[in-house]
Every structure is written in C-alpha cells, then in structure tokens.
Amino acid sequence: MHHFTPLSGLIGGALIGLASAALMLSAGRLAGVSGILGGVLTASRDRAWRLAFIVGLIAAALIGPLLGTSGPARLSSSNLALYAIAGLLVGFGTRRGNGCTSGHGVCGFARVSARSIVATLVFMGAAIVTVALVRHGFGR
C-alpha cells in the first residue's frame, strides 16, 4: 500500500533538479542516466566523469540510509524473467530513443525541448498502457 507523498516528492525532485543543474554548471554535461551509462559502455573518450556519476548514484543507496532516507528497494525474486525482459526493453529503448526519465523527462522539460517532450509523452503513454493491460486487462 503506497500513499501520496507530495512533500517528499517535491524535496526529492528538487534535489534531482539541483544535481542536474550542478552537472551542467560543473561538467557541462546533461544528467541523462541512460546516456551516461551508454557512454561508459560504448568506449567514448570521456569515461571517467561518467563512471564517477554512476558510482555516486550507487553510493547514494549506501550513504542515504545513514542520513535517514530509505535504502535500496526490496523486491521479490519470484519473477526474474520479467525483470530480464523489462531490463532489455529499457536498455535498448533508451538508447534508440536517446534518453530516459532523467535526460528527456527532467532535463528535456527543463530545456523546453520539443523532442524530449514528445519522447516523454510517448514513454509515459506506453508505460500507462502497459500497466493498464498487466493489472486490469486480459479479462481481469
């Protein structure tokens, strides 16, 4: 059972925005997680800052709980095949579409990029339809 938590949502969101602004102001780079990870994998020249950002993301789940945040999500291992299929789709799709929730969703909207706004509407729409079918469709 999950509850609507607008305040922690706004605060957490502001931190995500702050980190995105800081990455642009310091490194001159856009905080798009799929793009940063993709760049590490495809042997681009500037791997170091990308790896540092990813290590920072992972470290957050270890340092956060010491500061009072929740830790990594606990998930049931009963449906590993679903996570494998979902992971493949997310990996392939974010590279083909050039971005994910952070690059298109947060940074793209902040830049008022029509390209990113279209991408965000498409992936949100596809996700909403998928959830509707999985949870309420197929005669359920």
Partner: protein
C-alpha cells in the same frame, strides 16, 4: 580531478533525490502509472520539483561562457522528432511499465545487490550493447562512403 569529484557529487545528490522522493520503489512508480487503480500522483510532484530547479540552473548555465571544470557546455544538438525517438521511447515505456524501474533508480538500487536488480541492470546493459551492435551492423551495411553525423545525445 575536480571534474571527477563534481560528477560523483552530482550522482550522489541525484541518487539521494531519487531515494527521498520514493522513486527508487518500483511499487510507487507503478502507482503513478496505474491510472485505473489507486492513483498515486507523487511522480508528478517529483518531476515538477526537478524541472523547476534544473530549469533555473540551466538558465544560469546559458548565461555563463563555460562550465567550471570542462572546456564547454555540451547541450544536446538535436531538435528533430524522428522515428527512432518515438519507437525507442515506446519500447522503454513498455519495459518501464512492466517493472516500474528506469535507469536511474536501477543503478541506485543496484547497491542492495538483490537478485531482481542485478538481473534488471545486466539485461539493461545487454540491451544497450545490443542496440550498439545493431547500429554498427546497419551503418556497415549502408555503404562505407555514407557520412555518419555524430550528434550529442539527449541524455
């Protein structure tokens, strides 16, 4: 070296933001995506907070000449809306809807070393490699003389 520390710090704050907002919990994200269930609007508030602060920061960046620790600002260079953008976003959306996990939260959650997250991240990396291989074969197939325009990714 300053660039590496700054980048690590940005990743850390980004991850803390995801944890505080609840976006590392797939159930909470699915609660937003489930329009026909008990809808949880939290994700919209996370996006609003993030977009407002990032927008202010980007406006500041656009008024500066160069970033603090790099030679130039690398803004995404493309503004066209093409088929790969739409099909890629659709595939990503389906995977996101199945799992409630997108790349940022996947990497934050990897710290817990839980089997579902390891499987998800491994598959995500494989999907990225798969795309890269497919692209390279396609480019190799389309006559070597063709000019490949390298553009800055959107994110």
């Amino acid at each position: 070296m300053a660039l590496i520390f700054a980048s690590f710090g940005c990743g850390l704050v980004f991850g803390l933001g995801l944890l505080i907002s609840g976006m590392t919990e797939p159930e909470k994200v699915l609660g937003f995506l489930d329009f026909f269930g008990e809808w949880d609007a939290t994700l919209a508030f996370v996006m609003a907070g993030a977009v407002i602060v990032a927008g202010a920061g980007f406006a500041l960046a656009q008024r500066r000449g160069t970033p603090l620790f790099a030679a130039k600002f690398s803004w995404p260079s493309r503004s066209d809306i093409d088929a790969p953008l739409v099909t890629g976003a659709a595939l990503f959306g389906i995977g996101w809807g199945f799992s409630g996990i997108c790349p940022g939260p996947a990497l934050v959650n990897l710290a817990g070393l839980a089997a579902p997250m390891i499987v998800f991240v491994a598959a995500m990396v494989l999907g990225m490699f798969g795309y890269e291989l497919w692209q390279r074969r396609k480019v190799a197939g389309e006559a070597a003389g063709e000019v490949v325009v390298l553009t800055q990714s959107d994110g």
